[in-house]
């Protein structure tokens, strides 16, 4: 078929291949995420498709999820002030405590049954991350 664009004629196409911790996490765990208009992070786990809004700065989210203290999904440097700073003894230690702490700072649409599904989905993802050693690093710090 004629009309096939030559490489010279085609405008530069965007390429996929971001390797930020957020992207790696999303691709591995069937999750999509985006920043909302107010700057919070909205996450959708495909197995439990109720979008939830994480009322935390993105840097804190990725510290919790990706175990990388300096990581921001967009690759920018975290600010010095972390909203995840907690007093000794109150920081989540177990995986479930980590999940509960995470969930306690989120808001999401849906009624109680959907919240349960969301919690189950999030725990599933966090368990997967534990298997890769990512969450364990966070919990042990």
């Amino acid at each position: 078929m004629t009309g096939k664009p030559t490489e010279d004629a085609v405008p530069a196409a965007p390429t996929h291949g971001s390797t930020s911790p957020g992207d790696r996490w999303a691709a591995a765990h069937h999750v999509s995420w985006t920043r909302t208009a107010t700057g919070t992070v909205a996450v959708l786990h495909f197995a439990h498709p109720v979008p939830h809004v994480l009322n935390e700065p993105a840097a804190t989210v990725w510290e919790l999820l990706a175990g990388d203290q300096d990581a921001d999904p967009d690759g920018s440097t975290r600010t010095e002030t972390s909203q995840n700073d907690e007093e000794p003894g109150t920081r989540p230690r177990t995986l479930d405590e980590l999940a509960e702490g995470f969930l306690s700072r989120t808001s999401f649409i849906g009624s109680a049954p959907e919240a349960d599904e969301l919690r189950a989905g999030l725990l599933h993802v966090l368990h997967q991350l534990e298997l890769t050693g990512v969450v364990r690093r966070t919990a042990d710090r």
């Binding site: 009309g3 096939k4 085609v10 530069a12 985006t34 495909f46």
Partner: protein, 297 residues
């Protein structure tokens, strides 16, 4: 698209920290997230799909342009399977492929938490076979991240063509879309587009959208112009009957004009139609046919 009342997500307000509170998720966020879930769902079912327009065309549209739904073009040999896969994943069928428009090109589904997706079985405007067009688009596809999920999209120039043809039937944003996507193209890129228009038989909507005549059929252009102008029912019917080449096709157009589209009526009313709603709609449709006959066009 007009959102039926019962398909409007329930707004909610954030709760206190530590509670399982409801929160508003704005439309743009929900639509961006939807792209990934739609793609994942169709991939899992082994169905090829290209994301078109909206946030999938972020590198082509102006950055401030918003979108109210997800649009995908699926493998024409898997159109029913695509609907099955999405319905199994929580979407609800609102209108089937034959109900959405006079082009009978797309089905609309609704997800209670995410919003609308339009599943196209073909792209209106191409006289070439849908399978031929899809395979060419698929062969040249690229990938765009939407909400950090890689979504297959048409190659940039192909996507420009898709947007221009869509503009031919979009009375609200058509002209500004065309002006934007065509501006900045080089002469060589414009020539490539024109070749695609001729190769795929898209001269009619191309003329309506751009004003450039590459060999359009005047009778078909009249239909496209009526759609573009959001013409009244009688005008559109006249154009469609004039463009129908055989008596059988003319009969099909007349029949479609009289038979009430239940899904559309449901959406327009925001509730299930009642008997008097159907009667009123039948009267309006028959009046349109009578106008056409009376004016002898």
């Amino acid at each position: 698209m007009n959102t039926p009342a019962e398909h409007t997500p329930e707004p909610a307000s954030p709760g206190a920290p530590g509670t399982s509170a409801k929160a508003e998720v704005d439309l743009e966020t929900r639509i961006r997230l939807s792209h990934g879930l739609v793609d994942h769902t169709l991939q899992q079912a082994g169905i090829r799909a290209l994301h078109v327009k909206g946030y999938a065309a972020a590198t082509i549209f102006p950055p401030e342009r918003s979108s109210s739904d997800v649009d995908v073009v699926v493998d024409p040999t898997r159109t029913d399977a695509a609907l099955d896969a999405l319905q199994n994943a929580g979407w609800e069928l609102v209108t089937g492929y034959d109900e959405g428009s006079i082009f009978r090109h797309a089905a609309t589904l609704w997800h209670a938490h995410l919003g609308y997706v339009d599943v196209h079985r073909h792209l209106p405007g191409f006289r070439a076979r849908p399978a031929e067009v899809f395979e060419a688009l698929w062969d040249r596809r690229t990938v765009v991240d939407v909400a950090h999920w890689p979504c297959p999209v048409a190659a940039p120039l192909d996507h420009v063509l898709i947007i221009v043809l869509h503009a031919a039937r979009n009375p609200s944003r058509g002209k500004q879309d065309v002006d934007h996507v065509l501006s900045g193209l080089t002469g060589a890129q414009r020539a490539t587009l024109q070749r695609s228009v001729r190769d795929w038989g898209a001269e009619d909507p191309w003329l309506v959208a751009t004003g450039e005549d590459l060999g359009a059929d005047p009778s078909q252009v009249r239909v496209w112009q009526a759609v573009h102008d959001d013409a009244d029912r009688a005008t559109l019917l006249s154009a469609r009957l004039h463009a129908a080449r055989t008596p059988a096709r003319k009969l099909r157009v007349l029949a479609a004009a009289v038979v009430v589209n239940r899904a559309h009526l449901h959406m327009a009313l925001g509730r299930a139609p009642r008997r008097r709603d159907y009667l009123r709609e039948y009267r309006r449709r028959i009046a349109a046919v009578a106008t056409h006959v009376r004016e002898g066009s």
